[in-house]
């Protein structure tokens, strides 16, 4: 069996571009899914039955549907029933953001619930509203507890973005699989792809370990 690694170098431009898209997609998804998760968690914890119900349904739906199905669904089904259609990147982003928002919401909810009731009472006793108590006192404390969990979600997300390759978003997985199809250099390209994901993912994973050490719950 002869290996020809030159195919990797020849296509380094497309691979690099794929890396950029993968990072961009991860970043944009989190940019939406963190505020999204907070809003969903606050809705879920609010005293309004309606808000709390909507949030619960949303979360339970999007958390339990496979991401790949969500991607196909947004890409093929949504435009049929509505006039809404997105670019492949937009579609991938939407599907991932829905899923990760649902996950983050549960993370934030657990974080908020882990803060002692007395903290809210101390804030209320000063005359703060529930909202002020949440924003100034509870969320900043919850954020510290939630950070390590968000960091692991980030790592999963970074790898899960590869799922959007099925709708031809030019991310790393998609570009690599294209090159493979054109060059028939299956082993070389798949190896290169694994190495690139690993080289990018490993430092992030190490960083998460450090975040856990530094910020993980100790009390």
């Amino acid at each position: 069996m002869n290996l020809d690694w030159s195919v990797v170098w020849q296509n380094s431009g497309a691979l690099a571009q794929g890396v950029l898209i993968t990072i961009l997609l991860t970043f944009c998804t989190m940019l939406i899914a963190i505020p999204g998760g907070i809003v969903l968690a606050l809705m879920r914890l609010s005293s309004s039955r309606i808000l709390s119900g909507i949030s619960a349904c949303f979360v339970e739906f999007f958390r339990n549907v496979p991401i790949i199905l969500l991607i196909y669904w947004t890409f093929y089904v949504l435009p049929v029933f509505t006039d809404i259609s997105f670019s492949p990147f937009g579609t991938g982003l939407l599907a991932l953001a829905l899923n990760v928002s649902a996950y983050n919401s549960e993370t934030f909810r657990a974080g908020i619930n882990s803060i002692r009731r007395g903290q809210t009472e101390a804030a209320l006793a000063l005359g703060m509203s529930h909202m002020e108590a949440m924003l100034k006192i509870i969320l900043p404390q919850a954020a510290r507890r939630v950070l390590p969990v968000l960091a692991s979600t980030w790592i999963s997300l970074f790898k899960d973005t590869s799922l959007v390759s099925v709708i031809a978003v030019g991310d790393l997985a998609h570009n690599a699989l294209e090159i493979r199809a054109q060059s028939f250099r299956v082993l070389e390209i798949l190896t290169a792809m694994a190495v690139i994901y690993w080289v990018l993912g490993y430092p992030q994973a190490k960083l998460v370990d450090r975040i856990y050490k530094k910020w993980g719950v100790k009390e």
Binding site: G118, Q119, A125, S129
Partner: protein, 261 residues
């Protein structure tokens, strides 16, 4: 009886509108009656201590005062008016009451100074500069001027509780509520907190204090209310309660604590 009546007549500011008045307060948690029917008053400038066995409803009554707990019956007056029903109205009342908790409940993500300024900044919209100035003065008052930039976790229990008192005072309250402020403290730091409270009382602050510190209650309280199983068994001037208790249950409770007068 006539002596008690006379003592009540001599009660501090007895003629004024009470700051807080409890009229047949009832509080239930579901079926469980935490407070049966409590009637008591707190006059301006008075220190009223609530004492009694654990689980007798002292904290519950204190927490109804600033509406952290809702009452199911009776009427609670603050400054002569019933507690408002609206959320905004309740917030206004809470601004005028300071509360100190058994577990301090300082905000761990904020420095000592920020703990004290966050209330005035957020609620009263006081300027940063003004809030800091007031906070520094309050820290000085509770003897912690050098701790302004520390985080609560780096303070002893007694120091944390003194910061919590300063935090409550920063809102310039008309009445201070204390829920067993020294129960979570190491014995050697209890004194520093009680001293701050004693000075506050001497300055004329109206205070409602749930406590097991009988020496403090005897020396500082103007009025003592004895609880048992959700009801008041006896109330009166500290001298009466501690030196000449009228109710059997008061005597039992005090002797249980080893109080010998």
């Amino acid at each position: 009886m006539s002596t008690v009546a006379a003592q009540i007549q001599n009660r501090k500011n007895a003629d004024q509108t009470p700051v807080v008045e409890y009229r047949s307060i009832r509080k239930q948690y579901g079926e469980f009656v935490a407070i049966g029917s409590v009637t008591a008053r707190v006059n301006k400038g008075e220190v009223v201590c609530l004492i009694g066995p654990s689980g007798s409803g002292k904290s519950t009554l204190l927490r109804t005062t600033n509406a952290l707990e809702q009452i199911q019956g009776g009427e609670l007056l603050f400054d002569g008016k019933p507690l408002p029903a609206s959320k905004a109205g309740i917030r206004q009342v809470r601004q005028r009451m300071g509360m100190v908790f058994q577990n301090f409940e300082l905000f761990p993500h904020k420095t000592v100074l920020e703990n004290i300024t966050v209330g005035p900044r957020t609620v009263l919209k006081v300027s940063e500069q003004e809030a800091r100035k007031r906070a520094v003065a309050l820290l000085d008052k509770v003897g912690l001027a050098d701790k302004a930039d520390k985080y609560p976790a780096n303070l002893s229990g007694g120091q944390q509780q003194r910061v919590a008192i300063a935090r409550a005072l920063a809102m310039e309250p008309e009445v201070m509520l204390f829920d067993e402020p020294t129960s979570a403290l190491d014995p050697e730091t209890i004194g520093e907190v009680l001293n701050v409270m004693k000075r506050l009382a001497e300055e004329g602050m109206t205070m409602i204090v749930v406590t097991h510190e009988m020496t403090f209650a005897r020396r500082v309280a103007d009025w003592v209310v004895v609880f048992d199983r959700g009801n008041i068994v006896e109330q009166g001037p500290a001298a009466q309660i501690f030196d000449n208790p009228q109710a059997e249950r008061t005597r039992d409770f005090l002797s249980h604590l080893g109080w010998d007068g």
